[in-house]
Symmetry: C2
Subunit: 123 residues, 2 copies
DNA sequence: CCTATACCTGCGCAGTCTTGCAGATATGTG
DNA sequence: CACATATCTGCAAGACTGCGCAGGTATAGG
């Protein structure tokens, strides 16, 4: 199969079949971009720590997250804003407390691989 | 159990048990940092595309990767340098061609989830 | 209504990262 | 040896990112 786009065909390939395999393996650029964005969310120690905490503790407040992670309230809030905007977590208000939980199944799945999630009843 | 470090104990928690669950779920900071670094490698579209290509095509040259991804030789080389330095891929010289393959099982595993890796004989 | 608590937001600085250019190195060929 | 190919590297510009400070909003309680 000839998966190489016309505009690149003029260049000399070294292993034709590998080029085709590679192109097939890459797939939709939008899908790749989506995953890259997802991984980007997990790439910062602070955010990853928060996600692990949310994953392990379920609906948890900003203050508790700050205590558990040792981060400042502001840092936690800022990081959560990024995660919320990206759709990785969602917020639920309960009085003056706002609790966060995971909202992206794919992210949840990735986190599940990092920490076995011992006895969570949420799934 | 009281997992909250002494220096943070003075602050008012909202749900004590959730704080403890969170701390337990976070685990070793060094481990978290390691995964964050890993995710960071996958967070850039160019690198992720390259990794997917290498994953699908096996030992493949820089030139072929450039053709398959539509990136410039330089960009591919630079990205591969980062991945190589981080231990995600390894290079093997064959004449004037250098072929790359995945060298980090964890990264391999993550990629495997993104594209089912149809008929790779490498494992 | 006034205060305390819980959380959010805008802004500016500093550090990091990606990219492209230009050039260097290494290998095969005649 | 001269040349083409394949890949690597250093450097500088530009974009992006996380962090802390200061201040703003929302809810509960007296």
């Amino acid at each position: 199969m000839h998966l190489v786009p016309a505009e690149r065909a003029h260049r000399n390939t070294i292993d034709d079949h590998r080029v085709c395999d590679a192109i097939a393996g890459i797939g939709e650029p939008t899908r790749v971009a989506g995953w890259a964005r997802r991984f980007g969310l997990l790439s910062e120690p602070g955010r990853l720590t928060l996600l692990l905490a949310v994953h392990a503790a379920g609906p948890i407040s900003v203050t508790d997250l700050a205590i558990a992670t040792g981060m400042s309230d502001t840092s936690v809030s800022q990081a959560l804003r990024v995660l919320r905007t990206a759709g990785a977590v969602e917020a639920h208000r309960d009085g003056r407390v706002i609790r966060y939980r995971l909202s992206d199944p794919q992210v949840h799945d990735l986190l599940h691989r990092l920490s076995p999630c011992p006895a969570t009843t949420s799934h």
